[in-house]
Symmetry: C2
Subunit: 182 residues, 2 copies
DNA sequence: GTCTATAAAAAGATAGAC
DNA sequence: GTCTATCTTTTTATAGAC
């Protein structure tokens, strides 16, 4: 369990932020180095290529999802409600890694696409015991995807149409009724 | 109602396809010209800059959505069922324009983001009379977003986890029960 | 309307000093 | 571990012939 170097982590943070805020186009090596507070050479010491930088981000998502699955299955309000509530991004490390990896997948990175499918399967596996049937499970997954998608559209710059507070509670209750079988 | 030049349209088609398949990074002027069957100079006659090319795509979405709204309100199976069914992309011109514009929005194009919000509002306006309340309406919109998001992830290269056929029918029935008030 | 040629800037990557 | 300097390729855009 060697803790990774500070500079390496802040470069990776910066890369994710650039992807989320302005997309793959803006997340250049140069911009990432500047945002991460190192020079281009400094960045390249930690990540020998653009591909290595992308792979490290994908791997970070993998680790964060493992922790998230544990939180889902142990949630007090129940796995489905917790899962839906946490789909409204609060800009935590998991949200950022997930949205940034989506950007990479849309840019044609095959490993990013494969990781996103893996993440979805792990979530489905954790929630399946709590849904009446596969249709109900898909409803939960699709509402979650919809919540993520909307929040991710502008990189969080615009409020967006995603329900908050009491509206979100009502939505979760509605999905729970439908998914649990009424 | 002047019909636009053939070359102009095929360049715009090619640009959308590149955005969908490989993201903003790959949708360069050069690649777009080649895929559209013209030279770079030919492209630049029709679209004086990258920004003009992007604006034309956003405007095309605007027009296609107007036609879609008419189809939604007049659908035989009901607006909500029709809307959800058409959210599973069959790669028609509207689907392509929508996903391509999403790529532009994620790349930081403000006009693309504004257009996507406008599209969502127009859809909500068409469906609102057919939902019990705002929570039910949001459920329909979010499931639709989830369907689009999943199909768009790999540019359609990978089958993806989106329900088809009988599974899709069951999902639509479930959402209809929840949205119409059981 | 469509082409080729080319300029100007930005991208990823390498070399080597400190 | 981090830096500057530099190389190569790609990208956007311009100029002007046909």
């Amino acid at each position: 369990m060697s803790r990774p170097p500070r500079a390496r982590e802040s470069v990776l943070d910066a890369f994710a932020e650039l992807l989320i805020a302005d997309g793959e186009r803006s997340a250049t090596m140069d911009a990432t180095a500047r945002a991460g507070g190192v020079s281009k050479g400094g960045l390249l010491y930690h990540f020998a290529s653009k591909d290595a930088l992308e792979s490290a981000l994908i791997e970070r998502l993998d680790e964060l999802v493992d922790a998230d699955i544990a939180a889902i299955v142990g949630a007090d309000e129940g796995p489905v409600a917790y899962f839906l509530r946490s789909s409204v991004t609060d800009n935590d490390p998991l949200d950022r890694a997930l949205i940034a990896t989506s950007r990479l997948a849309q840019g044609g990175n095959a490993a990013a696409g494969a990781m996103l499918r893996s993440v979805r399967e792990r979530w489905e596996g954790a929630l399946r015991p709590h849904a009446r049937d596969e249709t109900a499970l898909q409803l939960v997954m699709l509402v979650s995807d919809g919540l993520y998608f909307n929040n991710a559209l502008d990189g969080g710059a615009v409020p967006g149409p995603v329900p908050q507070g009491a509206e979100l509670d009502a939505l979760i209750a509605l999905v729970l009724r439908a998914a649990a079988g009424l």
